[in-house]
Each structure stands twice: as C-alpha cells, then as structure tokens.
C-alpha cells in the first residue's frame, strides 16, 4: 500500500480536509499543489507514491495530468477525484490511466485503499 501522498486541488479548504483525512487514515501527506503545473513540479521534487488529483484544475484538466504522470515508469499511482459524478466525464475516466476515481463526497481512506489495492 502506498504511504506518501501529494494532494492536488485548487480549493485550499478541500486540501486541508483531505490532508487531515488521509493522515488520520495512516498516510503521510508530503505536499499540496493548487494546479497542474505545480503538481507536476511537486511530483518530481517530492516523489510521492500516490497523487490524489482533482479533475477540474484551473490550468489543465486532471485527466491530462494523470496521462503525463503515467508516461514515466515508476511514476506515482494516481487517484482522480471531483465534486462531479464520474458519469459527467463521459468515457474519458474509463480510458484514463489513473488507478481509479472517487467522488469527493465519498472520499475516505477506505475508498482510496480499495481503489489502489485493485491495481494490478
């Protein structure tokens, strides 16, 4: 199970709650990023094992960031999240190379473990 996490979301409030939730569930949050560009920089600098990635970012969208991160071997595992439902992104989520998607309402450490454990 991955232990170190980077949280990417443009809402500071959400990042704060997510950090506490993950830390309570036994994860180590190594950093936070508010947009796609700083997220990519943070992944290179901090080498997290897991990235909790918001789909709707102000610069690029999270699905594209997940593609970018998946290009490098040994890159972090990515869990996408959004306040919207999965169905609202059409088939793009299914086709993405992220480990999975969790609606923000349903975000718990148990849900993250379930998604990451399913990874082959």
């Amino acid at each position: 199970m991955p232990k170190t996490v980077l949280i990417v979301d443009d809402h500071a409030g959400f990042r704060g709650f997510a950090r506490r939730l993950l830390e309570a569930g036994g994860y180590t949050v190594v950093g936070e990023a508010p947009d796609a560009a700083s997220a990519i920089a943070a992944v290179q600098a901090l080498q997290p094992e897991l990235v909790l990635l918001d789909v709707l970012l102000p610069d690029t969208d999270g699905i594209a960031v997940a593609e970018l991160l998946a290009e490098n071997d040994g890159g972090p595992e990515v869990v996408l999240t959004s306040s919207r439902e999965a169905v609202e992104f059409g088939t793009r989520l299914e086709r993405s190379r992220a480990s999975g998607f969790i609606r923000k309402d349903d975000l718990t450490t148990a849900a993250i473990q379930e998604v990451t454990a399913a990874r082959p």
Binding site: F14, R20, S83, R84
Partner: protein, 581 residues
C-alpha cells in the same frame, strides 16, 4: 448650354459652312480634286455641326454634343484656304485633327464619359500623336502627309512649315502614322464591341444606330477601295455616292441614338396603371426596369431609423458599391424613400427619372415599409437567438459558481464530519448518531445541489460535446435508452437546445410514460439537426404541457420546429428540427 452660345455656334457654323462651300467652288481650282466631291464633304461637315448642336442643346450635360460639333468644325475648317500661304498651311495642318475627336466620340458614346483609364489613355495619346505626325509630315513635304513631297502643283500656295522636301522622312512618318492610326482604330473597334456586348437597355438602344451606320459606311468604303484596286474609276459613281451618304448618316445616327435614350412619356403612363394594384417588391422592380428600359435596374429602400439602405428582403446593401452603375435617390414629400441603381445612360434623362419617381412613390413607400418590416423581423430573429445564447452563457456561469461555491463548502463539511466521527468512534455513541444524521443531511444537500447544477447547465456538454452528454443523460434514466448521435460538434446554442429537448423528453418518459425502453437519435442533414426521442410507453403526451412548451420556445428561437406524436397507447415521439448553417 446657354442660348447665347447656341446662337453664336449656329451662326458661326452656318457662316463657316457657306464660306467653305464658296472657297471650294471658286478658290480651290489650283488643286487636282473634284470640287463636287469636296462640296459633298462640306455638306457632311454641315450635318455634323447641325446634329452636334441639336445633341448639345437636348443633352446639355453630355459631352457627345460638343464632340460632334467639334468634328464638324474641324473638318469644315480644312476647306478654309485660298491662294494665300498662311490659311493653306493651317488648313493642311488640321486635316487629320477630326480623327482623335471622332475616336473620343465613339468611345464616349452615349454617356459622354470614357469608361476606363485605358480608354482615357488611348484618346489622350491620339490627341497628342495625330498633330505631331501632321506637323512632322508638313515639315518634310509641301502638301503634308497626303501628297508626294516632289509632286508639282504650280498654282498651289506655299507651305510655311516646310523645312526640306525629304521623301525618306515623309515615307517613315507616313508609314508610322498609318500604323498608329490603324492600331488605334482596331483597338477602338474592339473596345466598342465590348461596350455593345456589356450594354443593356438605354445604352444598347443608343449604340445600335451608331454601330449599324458605322458598319454600313465601313462596308461601302471597303467596296470603294476594292473596286479602285482593280483599276476601276470610282469618281462620280453610284457606289461612291452611297459611301458618302453612309458617312453622312453617321452623325445623324449619333443624334438618333442619343435621343433614343429618352423614352416616351407613355411608358410612365403605363407604369402608373401597372402600379395601381400596389405590386410586390419584385413586381415593382420589374415594372420600373421595364419603364426605364434597364433590365439590370435594382431598387434599394431607405430605412431612416437605421440610416442605411436594404434590399427588398431587408438585407443591408450599399447602392454606391458599383462605380459602373449610377444611383438616383427617389423621395416623397421631402423624405428619402429609395435609391435606383441603374445604367448611367439614364442620368441624361433627369425628367424621366423624376416622372418615374413621382409615379411610383406610393408603391415605393409601400415596398419600403415591407422591406423595413423584413429588416425588423431579421433583427428580431437575431435578437431572439442572442437572448438564448445569453441565457445559456448565464447558465454556464451559474453552474460554475455552484460548483466552486456551495458545493465545495458542503464537501469540506462532509470530510470534516467524517474526521470527527472517526475520532469519536471509541466512545460517545449519541454524538456519533447525531453526526451521522448531520452527515446524511449533507449527503442529500450535495446530491440536490449536483442535480441543480446539472439542470442549469450540464458541464459535460460544452467540455465533451452532445454525444457524451446525451450518453450520460441516458445512463441516469430509469429505463434503458439507446443513443445514436452524430459525432461532430455543433454550434453551442444548437447543442444546448438538442440536449434540453432530450433531457425534458426523458424526464417525461421517467414521470409519465411507464415505458420499458426509449431511444435518442440526433442526425445532421441538409444544414438541419434532427433530434428524436421515442419511447414505448402509454402515449397521450401534449405539446401544450409546461415543460414541452418552454422547449418549443427554445427551439423556435433558433428558427426550428418542435413536434410531438403521442397516440394513446402508442408510445411518444418528440421531434425537433433545428437549422444549423
């Protein structure tokens, strides 16, 4: 043209003609030319002057009259010499001057204006070149370019310009001059054929007699040349007299052609009758075109509120757009009504245009109001479309605001509540229960907020397009829905409307239809998007229902049509056709 100028020119014309005739008859006996032939020439010159003055008088603003008069005066002035050296020298010098004037006349007929830069260049060149050739010829030969430099004429007066008899120079100048004149004549003929071919209505009516008489004269002169080449003596022959008559007919043809651009008053009377029944815009244009003899006539209507012209369909146009067309503004009771875009030849008939304008003013006012109405309708249609667009933009903004605002806060609260619950899990059961309730509330609020945001504007629609948006819609429906949607992106307003038609129809399927299956089909053909939502339910739906009625306004704002087919027990089919240029 002032009366005084007319009288002066008429009197001096008559005087010059009489003087020339007298000189030809009594003072040119030193020349080897037949005086009968020269008298016929003087008569032709007199016809040029007379017809030119009539043309000038009847069409004072047109250069055709002055040019015709000038041809006559320059030609007749060639005969104004006797045994004295100075008048003979001058008469010789101007003997070819009518050539550039005639060329100018042919090319400028009937409007009096040369039509292109090239034509103006050609005429200007000839005005300069012909006198220069004449002068040079006269410096090299005693009787100019027309006679051999060594010809002897014992009684002839002296040529004051003669420098030296030189056959070589005389030959070169003569050949070069002939080449230039032939090239100019051929070019002018080609240009004239172009004028005839492009002409319409009044211009063509004017050109026809001129072209016919010039062609007849050319054919007869050609025949004279051919016969002479075979050594037959033509002097005094019928053929030569016919050729002279044809040449004399040319100025008459110019006058007739010029006056033919004027139409009969009866045409205006016919127009009044024709317009009595307040015709449609197309009929009005046709009647005006017929009356003015200009089939290419166009009518532009003035919209005073917008300060611009429109065509009969209400589309904005610029009457001054084509420099080869003339524009006449028509009014009624001091107000601008319309503009006629017409053949420039009609400008010579301001009275006719005025009469037509007066006769047609009521019909024009009527047609102008129709055009104004059409323009207003077009504007209304555009504004309806803008309102729909603005509404959609507002929905998108609201969706974004809800997503970024309330929804994020609620999400935060939910995460916080879960954290608190986790901490309390060891002990206080009642606190845990309360928190679980609060959490359930938040879950419901989030679900409602999400549905609300989606109803205001489905984000997937502008991000992914119609097909994925409808697929998402189908997945949320309570019955299986087949979706077949064309893949290409459509204009935003069309996509949004197609989406809401489908969403409303599917909502009705869920609420009323008791269906087991439904389908959405969106196809694009012939610039039109067709949306069809069908189910196998109980039917009996009505377009008057509130949801469908709002949809109908949306669809019609885009100039589309919404229809519902819903026989009781036979399922429901909602169809929308939306134009999509």
């Amino acid at each position: 043209m002032s009366r005084r100028l007319l009288v002066t020119l008429t009197v001096s014309g008559a005087a010059v003609v009489v003087a020339a005739a007298a000189l030809v008859a009594f003072a040119h006996d030193f020349q080897p030319f037949g005086s009968a032939e020269k008298l016929a020439q003087v008569a032709t010159d007199a016809i040029w002057i007379a017809t030119g003055l009539i043309a000038w008088h009847r069409r004072p603003g047109n250069r055709v009259g002055p040019l015709m008069t000038a041809v006559g005066f320059v030609n007749v002035a060639q005969q104004l010499y006797w045994r004295a050296a100075l008048p003979f020298t001058i008469a010789e010098l101007i003997s070819f001057f009518s050539l550039p004037i005639g060329l100018h006349l042919f090319l400028a007929f009937p409007s009096g204006r040369l039509q292109s830069r090239f034509e103006r260049g050609l005429v200007a060149f000839m005005y300069v070149a012909v006198p220069l050739f004449s002068l040079a010829g006269q410096m090299a030969a005693p009787y100019g370019l027309a006679s051999d430099p060594h010809a002897s004429c014992p009684g002839c007066p002296r040529n004051l310009l003669l420098v030296q008899r030189n056959r070589e120079i005389w030959n070169t100048i003569g050949n070069l001059g002939a080449l230039v004149v032939i090239a100019a004549l051929v070019t002018a003929t080609v240009l004239l054929i172009g004028h005839v071919r492009r002409s319409s209505g009044a211009t063509r009516r004017a050109l026809t007699p001129v072209v016919l008489s010039a062609a007849a004269a050319a054919v007869l002169l050609g025949a004279v040349l051919v016969v002479s080449a075979f050594g037959v003596q033509t002097e005094g022959s019928l053929l030569l007299w016919l050729a002279d008559a044809a040449i004399a007919a040319i100025p008459v043809a110019f006058l007739v052609g010029l006056l033919r651009t004027r139409l009969h008053r009866s045409a205006v009377a016919d127009l009044v009758l024709e317009l009595g029944s307040l015709p449609s815009s197309a009929q009005l244009r046709g009647a005006l075109a017929h009356c003015l003899g200009d089939p290419t006539l166009e009518v532009a209507f003035w919209l005073p509120d917008h300060r611009r012209y429109v065509d009969p369909d209400g589309n904005a146009i610029d009457p001054d757009g084509d420099p080869e067309r003339a524009v006449t503004v028509l009014g009624r009771a001091g107000k601008r009504l319309a503009a006629l875009v017409h053949d420039p030849a009609l400008l010579d008939e301001p009275e006719l245009l005025d009469a037509v304008g007066a006769a047609a003013s009521l019909a024009l006012e009527n047609a102008r109001l129709q055009a104004e109405l059409r323009a207003q309708l077009a504007e209304l249609r555009a504004s309806r479309a803008r309102i729909v667009e603005a509404g959609d933009a507002e929905r998108r903004r609201l969706e974004r605001d809800l997503h970024d605002g309330a929804q994020q806060h609620l999400l935060g609260i939910r995460l916080a509540l879960q954290l608190v619950r986790a901490r309390l899990a060891d002990g206080g059961a009642s606190a845990d229960e309360l928190l679980a309730e609060a959490d359930a509330e938040v879950v419901d609020a989030l679900a409602e907020l999400r549905a609300l945001a989606r109803g205001i504007h489905p984000a997937i629609l502008n991000e992914e397009g119609l097909a994925p948006a409808l697929a998402a819609l189908a997945r949320r429906a309570p019955v299986p829905v087949d979706v077949a949607v064309c893949r290409e992106r459509l204009p935003a307003a069309v996509e949004t409307t197609a989406y809401f038609v489908s969403a409303e129809a599917l909502a009705n399927v869920a609420k009323h239809a008791h269906a087991s299956h439904a389908s959405i089909e969106v196809t694009q053909a012939n610039g039109c998007v067709a949306v069809e939502v069908a189910d196998d339910g109980v039917g009996g739906a009505d377009l008057a229902g509130a949801g469908l009625c709002g949809l109908r306004d949306r669809v019609e704002a885009l100039d589309g049509r919404l229809s519902v087919e819903s026989p009781v027990g036979g399922g429901t089919r909602v169809s929308a056709a939306i134009p999509c240029a």
